[in-house]
């Protein structure tokens, strides 16, 4: 009962924040609202007992992304210009995709149902073997590092690749700017 109440409040606030993000033209407010959105999602994850995910969401979504977006705002204008055309087609596409997604959830099994493949395949195995194998109480860590070390290596490589990509893009642009400055 209490969980339903908390979920309802959190999801209502999420919807309100989303409307706020869409309606607001001041980009500074939009960035702050996006940070609030991340904190709300982190709270939802807490309610779902996914504390590790909540922590990641709070630190990445609300912390670093907010700062990066703010530093982008420092480089651009802080006010969103009014669109020239009325966004009817994007609105239609958004509603269509949303309706399809909701239609897709109709067939999904009830939340947390134990008979589903996702809760029967390797999950119970990890839960049973984790303590005897490693004596590490946090199963998330053992799955991440011990049983799925390869995947985490891939994940680290993805972060590395993304970082290198962003750096190369921004670096090249900066050099070009410097050259232009020299010509002027």
């Amino acid at each position: 009962m209490a969980e339903t109440l908390i979920n309802t409040i959190l999801l209502t606030l999420l919807a309100l924040t989303t409307i706020g993000v869409v309606r607001t033209r001041n980009l500074f407010s939009v960035v702050i609202l996006a940070g609030i959105y991340s904190f709300l999602i982190a709270s939802v994850m807490m309610v779902l007992d996914a504390v590790d995910v909540a922590m990641t969401e709070a630190s990445v979504g609300a912390g670093i992304s907010t700062v990066l977006l703010l530093s982008v705002l420092y480089l651009t204008k802080t006010h969103e210009s009014v669109p020239i055309r009325t966004p009817l087609l994007p609105l239609f596409v958004a509603f269509g995709v949303g309706a399809m997604l909701i239609y897709g959830t109709v067939d999904l099994p009830p939340f947390g149902s134990a008979e589903q493949p996702i809760n029967q395949h390797v999950g119970p195995d990890y839960l049973e073997r984790s303590i005897p194998d490693t004596k590490v109480p946090n199963v998330v860590t053992t799955v991440l590092a011990s049983y799925r070390g390869f995947d985490t290596l891939g994940e680290t490589a993805v972060v590395f690749t993304a970082g290198i990509g962003v750096l190369m893009l921004l670096r090249r642009r900066k050099k070009k700017q410097d050259d232009e400055g020299g010509e002027d």
Binding site: S59, I64, V67, K135, A145, G163
Partner: protein, 141 residues
């Protein structure tokens, strides 16, 4: 000077605790939520916080961009080295059991800590490097 002296002093007080908390999140990751990824983001947040308060150039004097860019591949390197070490000790790639001579679960613990160090280094330095790249561009006229 302006009135932000309070903010600067508070920042100086807070920064050690932020980094300390990041290490707590890292080394306590086996017992509580968190791990290398979260700890890396917190360390990056501490560096960005420093840059926001004291300006980009003092931060870059403390942590030069070339060091940050060296650290980005170093994390992946540490991770792979752990895997190769376990292979040389006779286990599979990233099978941590032989990292401790007698007790396999201590080996697991060591393996987890070390690969998480790799994750931490890559994540933290990538975040800081992206921040440097953005913040170093300056406002366009």
């Amino acid at each position: 000077m302006r009135l932000d002296v309070i903010l600067r002093v508070i920042t100086k007080l807070l920064l050690p605790f932020m980094v300390m908390f990041a290490f707590y999140v890292h080394f306590h990751g086996e017992f509580s939520p968190g791990g290398g990824f979260q700890a890396g983001v917190i360390i990056a947040a501490a560096v960005v916080f420093h840059a926001l308060m004291f300006g980009l150039y003092p931060t870059q004097r403390m942590l030069p961009p070339w060091v940050v860019e060296m650290l980005v591949p170093l994390g992946v390197f540490i991770y792979v080295v752990v895997g190769i070490v376990t292979m040389m000790l006779g286990e599979n790639f990233l099978g941590y059991n032989p990292l401790h001579p007698t007790k396999p679960y201590y080996g697991q613990e060591r393996g987890i800590i070390w690969i998480e160090v790799g994750v931490l280094v890559t994540v933290a330095s990538t975040m800081v490097a992206i921040f440097y790249a953005f913040a170093g561009r300056g406002r366009k006229p």
